[in-house]
Amino acid sequence: MAQFFEMPQASPTMEKGLLLSWLKAEGDTLAPQDAIAEVETDKAAMEIEVFDSGVLIKILAAAGDAIPAGQPIAILGQSMDEDISGLLADFEAWKANPPAAQAAEPDAPTPAAQPGPAPASAAPKAPVTGTVQASDWMGKTLSSAIMESPGTFLVEGPRVRSSPLARKLAAKKNISLEAVTGTGPHGRIVKADVESWRPPAGGVAVARGQDQLIPNNTMRKTIARRLTESHSDSPVFFLTAHFDCDRFVAYRKRLKALVDQPISYNDLLMKCVARALVDEPACNASWSDDAITRFGSVDLGMAVALDGGLITPIIRSAESKSIGTIAAEARELAGRARSGKLKPDEYTGNTFTVSNLGMMDISEFTAIINPPASAILAVGSLAQEPVVVVGGELSVGWRMRVTMTCDHRVIDGALGARYLQALRRYVENPELLAV
């Protein structure tokens, strides 16, 4: 029997999915795990798969559409001859009064109490034996998705009232109309306003370059929203430590010579970070109002810079993985992150994060915590410096500065300091990693 196929809730933070392209056409037969369409979620481009064999009867959404999770995007069934008129009518009704609009009505039942999307309830489900139906697991996440995101997806800037001459003159003089105060009715910007506009005091009187509007893609918006939330929600403090890295450098040099695999300083450092979290598990934790979750393993996020954004793929259970495994996974995850191929579960839910700008010659910096973790380690450059050695003599040594941002709700100052002591122990004595 024909049924809806819906935009999946691919990650906890996903509000809408941007339908990039259809990989199947109407009339195509489908096998389980066939990719049916390509979708850009808040963090990654991904293929969405079907769970049943059957046929793609009808496509309900066009490439380029931003579609809320849970909204039907296609009708699947067993044969092209099936009658889908009822489903199409349901879809029209659904579009006319989507669940988000219902939830916004004060008298409506809470979304959580609703059985799910209107078409799912209107069209009786007939699960195919032995398979999981997309709308089944969709139904569970849909309500929460609607509650989280009643807002609109694309927001246009306010219209600036201005005369045609003012706009022309502003364009000629490279003046942004947003910067000009209008003196016409209701603040309409007229030619004289543009003529009399001067750069703010202190500005230099040089021709300005043309301002550009870079539309925010879903990744940019997710970064903005999540980091703003983190920054405003968590009371943070910073701890900075200088590590003596002479042995660290020597250790990696020996490993490189012995192992037929690229291993970076960052790989080695992540192993140290994971091991130190075993010693201080209270730093591998997350805040909620009722309880602090102390995670059972170290899911170590590593910040990877992308064109126009960043993403934090996760090395799961890093504490129990070897340096070689960590190095291999890190390399593989970073590669797929850069090509936009990470799956949502590969970048959500880190318990601790490492952000390393050392390769860009940043000596030290602070980072913003990536929830649900309660701390992030900002790693500066590993460099040779003049150091005072035992006996008061000057020498040259490898040094590295790290700054840990701690959520004070979870990590107190002394705890954070103990963690950095533990980390120092491993960085300055990497042979301990083998113990």
Partner: protein, 458 residues
């Protein structure tokens, strides 16, 4: 209103500046009085704009009557009943005056009849009545002026004031001055059969207009039979028996039944107490700032008495700005340059902004677009092919710098460009507005297209 005030606003004069100031004052909630010694509505409604339109329509029909055969209509025994022409005009004027009285009543403006005199800032004496208000708007208007060697006698040497009510049609007339008033009387009398000689001191008639307009108007009025002398200064006008004798500086003597002195107007500033209160007067007009304030706090001046251009709609604009601002409301000031002008001869003349020589003198870059009504379908159909539209446009932004129209409906066609200018519409956007076909307004569109180099109908 302070305790000893009788009003919030007192307006002296009920011409276009005065009655509009009073109505807006009342509309904005000010307790307002308007003082008038003569007829409500001032020169405009009683002896100017409106009754003259009645006369000019008669003139237009008289000329048309002689051309109806061109349209296949035969009329015989065409005759002019001059007193009836004047009487119709007077009825129109009386109706206008009643209109102002009605509006005063509707908006709650108190009308005070009599001669007003400012006795102190904020104190106006009208006979036995003393009006006290924090704001006093002087809107006393203007009257005809003349030069040494001449003076109106009210019988044969006239100003517009006597001419517009006189039921005696002159057999011949000399009109001194080829501004709007002189041109309109010359056209009017000539159309009804008076032998008219028009004398202008400048080197062209309508000397404030673009020279191309003057040239076309000269051609059209000359064709209608008006004798036109430009660059001719008048030395004296005297009575010569029953007639008048005009002597020009070059010695030429012209005898005519009637001479009209149309040499401009001067502000009415006498006997209202301005001098005693120290109100500053510059060049014969009350000095005001762009909020129409005089140098004496609480005293304002609008319209003709506050300086040129001497036009009713300039007085309206002054009154709007003045009263809104004194009542604490925002209101833009209108630049004199943006005030349009009109001459209601046939063909009509209408213009605003810069003339072409003014742009040349200022070194302002411009492009010009012209479109003759002879190329416009509607005008060819109706037979009104005299004249053209000329627009002056800033080549960089497409701003309208000036527009000059001569033709049958010039005064009704100009406001489209005035509106575009006021709304800061650029010429290119202007041409994107679809115009009704067939209309004379298409000539305006085509002139703009010509200026942009995108016209295809010429």
């Amino acid at each position: 209103m302070s305790d000893n005030s009788t009003h919030d606003l007192v307006v002296i004069g009920s011409g276009p500046g005065g009655y509009v100031a009073a109505l807006h004052g009342a509309r904005l909630g000010l307790k307002t009085a308007c003082i008038e010694r003569g007829s409500l509505g001032g020169v405009c409604l009683n002896h100017g704009c409106i009754p003259s339109k009645a006369l000019l329509k008669s003139a237009e029909y008289a000329r048309l009557a002689h051309h109806l055969s061109d349209y296949g209509i035969t009329v015989e025994n065409i005759a002019v009943d001059f007193p009836k022409v004047i009487q119709r005009s007077r009825r129109v004027a009386r109706k206008s005056e009643k209109g102002v009285a009605y509006l005063f009543k509707k908006f709650g403006v108190e009308l005070v009849r009599g001669q007003a005199r400012l006795t102190a800032p904020g104190v106006v004496q009208v006979g036995e009545t003393e009006l006290r208000a924090p704001h006093v708007v002087v809107a006393t208007g203007a009257r005809a002026r003349w030069l040494p060697g001449m003076a109106p006698d009210g019988e044969r040497i006239l100003t517009y004031r006597e001419a517009i009510v006189s039921e005696r049609q002159p057999t011949s007339a000399v009109v001194l001055g080829a501004g709007a008033i002189g041109l309109e009387f010359a056209y009017f009398w000539n159309a009804l059969g008076t032998d008219v000689t028009l004398i202008e001191g400048a080197d062209r008639i309508a000397p404030l207009e673009d020279p191309e307009i003057s040239k076309e108007l000269h051609r059209a009025l000359g064709k209608q039979g008006i004798t036109i002398k430009t660059g001719a200064f008048c030395e004296s006008v005297v009575r010569h028996g029953d007639d008048t004798r005009v002597t020009l500086q070059d010695g030429t003597v012209i005898d005519a039944d009637t001479t009209l002195l149309a040499l401009g107007v001067r502000a009415n500033l006498e006997d209202i107490g301005l001098e005693e209160l120290g109100v500053q007067v510059d060049g014969g007009f009350i000095h005001v700032d762009d909020s129409l304030r005089t140098n004496v706090p609480g005293i304002y001046a609008v319209g003709d008495c506050a300086g040129p251009p001497m036009l009713a709609h300039k007085a309206y604009a002054d009154a709007h700005t003045c009263v809104h601002r004194l009542a604490g409301h925002d209101h833009p000031a209108v630049a004199p340059r943006d005030i349009p002008s009109g001459i209601f001869t046939q063909p009509q003349v209408a213009s605003f902004g810069f003339t072409e020589p003014e742009l040349v003198d200022a070194g302002t870059p411009y492009t010009v677009g012209r479109y003759p009504f002879a190329a416009n379908g509607k005008n060819r159909g109706t037979g009104y092919t005299d004249g053209f539209v000329k627009v002056l446009i800033d080549p960089e932004l497409g701003e309208f710098l000036g527009a000059h129209i001569i033709g049958q409906d010039a005064t009704e066609l100009l406001p489209e460009i005035v509106m575009a200018h006021a709304g800061e519409l650029d010429a290119e956007t202007f041409t994107h507005a679809v115009h009704n076909h067939p209309t004379s307004s298409e000539a305006v569109l085509e002139a703009v297209a010509e200026a942009l180099g995108v016209g295809v109908h010429l």
